[in-house]
Subunit: 149 residues, 2 copies
DNA sequence: CTCAGTGCAAAGGATTTGCATGCCG
DNA sequence: CGGCATGCAAATCCTTTGCACTGAG
């Protein structure tokens, strides 16, 4: 179906990317990756700390920074509160976010490949007209989640 | 062509929305609105202060907060640096953002009404499936602007 | 042994808030 | 007059950094 690394290979891929930059795949980093795999969307730092008490705040910030630098996690900026983190797109699937303005929860969703292609064409056109060189795009729905509606 | 308030009526609309919440349309607030009208995209607070030295930092934060609360300005969150502000969409036109990851500049762009409608349909479907109630959406292109390419 | 990784505490930067004063309605 | 607005300075909140210690290669 897809060429994404399966659960089984994920950690191998992560370890490779870290090693490429002379970084180690330590237990703390592995714990972060596992937390991110299990989340249904981007997770904030307080949430990460809450889910694994063994993590120190400063080390977690540092490790997320390292993981981002080697292309394993992606930092997502949302309204209010603190930043959120998710696995890089090439380790998951291309997706978008439902952002609740009341409770701050963020959940993933996808749109049809057809629509994605239409968007891609539109972006190519904008790119040609403006000289802007996009590396990726961001498409989010802002509103109230089911529980906060 | 459109039903947007013209330059001429904009301040009247703003004044109305403020009055509705028992707020005044003071010179400082008017200055902010005018700065935002002239910008080609969302503006950061440091930029606003730089463009009008008469504005005090704390008052500007407070006034942007008030203007946001009455639906005149919208706060845009982007990677790194500080938040950016733009006029609310019903005072301008529905648009999206080109965000440069190098210099942080943000510029507006639009996509075709047809594509917007396709997106709207997709969002309706997501909404029906998840129970999420969107109030609006956000579609940004992330990359390098012409100058930073 | 050497250098990356870790945790604590202190530093930083953006934004918010307390308070006294000025001014519009 | 009464309350919103304003500016300054102090306080907060999230995030980053300095430093000494531990551990893996």
């Amino acid at each position: 179906m897809s060429s994404l690394p399966g659960e089984a290979d994920l950690h191998v891929t992560v370890a490779q990317r870290l090693r490429r930059d002379h970084q180690r795949y330590t237990p703390a980093r592995r714990a972060l990756v596992e937390l991110l795999v299990g989340a249904g969307g981007p997770v904030s730092l307080p949430e990460l700390l809450r889910r694994d008490v063994a993590l120190a705040q400063s080390s977690t910030y540092r490790n997320l920074g390292v993981l981002e630098a080697v292309g394993v996690v992606h930092r997502v900026v949302v309204e209010g509160e603190s930043a959120r983190y998710e696995l890089a797109e090439d380790l998951t699937e291309h997706h978008h976010h439902l952002i609740c303005t009341r409770c701050g929860a963020v959940r993933d969703f996808t749109i049809s490949p057809t629509l994605e292609r239409s968007l891609a064409r539109a972006f190519d056109q904008v790119s040609a007209e403006t000289g802007f060189r996009p590396t990726h795009h961001r498409l989010d729905l802002i509103g109230r989640c089911e529980r906060c509606a």
